[in-house]
Symmetry: C2
Subunit: 121 residues, 2 copies
């Protein structure tokens, strides 16, 4: 493993697409990903892992079961536990750091057209 710093702002400047996470770092068997989001994602869940969201820029809403929603601004973190249905959405373009085990698919158990292929920046 190379020991090189990763500047999140520089990585964010390298892409413009939405809902397509890019791997920018690794730690043990986890990946640090960056994603830009705008609009509404699909309801989904990850049966085998929690998922950590850290908002860098913008505002991310995560809809949860039973009509609950959590709104995250910059430097706010939320861990969605495994097996919990959730739907991310953002009214303005929002940049988010994700932490997930290597190989997690963005749409979890839901699949569908927004499923992204793995990409590394």
């Amino acid at each position: 493993m190379s020991i090189e710093p990763v500047h999140l702002d520089e990585k964010l400047a390298l892409f413009t697409d939405h809902w397509s996470p890019k791997t920018v770092g690794r730690m043990n068997d986890y990946e640090v990903k960056l994603v830009k989001v705008l609009g509404e994602f699909v309801w989904h869940q990850h049966d085998d892992t929690d998922e950590l969201f850290l908002v860098l820029v913008g505002e991310l809403t995560i809809d949860l079961p039973e009509g609950r929603s959590v709104v995250l601004g910059p430097r706010q973190v939320l861990t969605v536990p495994r097996g919990v249905q959730h739907r991310p959405r953002a009214a303005v373009e929002t940049s988010v750091l994700l932490l997930e085990p290597t190989g997690v698919v963005n749409t979890g158990e839901a699949g569908g057209g927004l499923t992204a292929r793995p990409q590394t920046l």
Copy 2:
């Protein structure tokens, strides 16, 4: 597990001590910790795990083997691979997010007076 957002700035306002990581979030068997640092830590290594540093405020230097050093500003990330000796230091007070498996000790294999007891905020 409760599903509550964690505001890193609010957590950082809750403590002033240095080199004593506070657990503020969890994900699977990992902990998200915040630490404020100033001055020089001890050379140490973690034999069983990589360690991820994300600088939030300030500037963190991480000394590495063979006279190499990496300097991290805000929103820069470094993963120090397992088994690699490293020494964090900071000339100004610096706030850092750490990601580590649950139970990792801050001084790794080195131990000594700067070893911190686990704390959760």
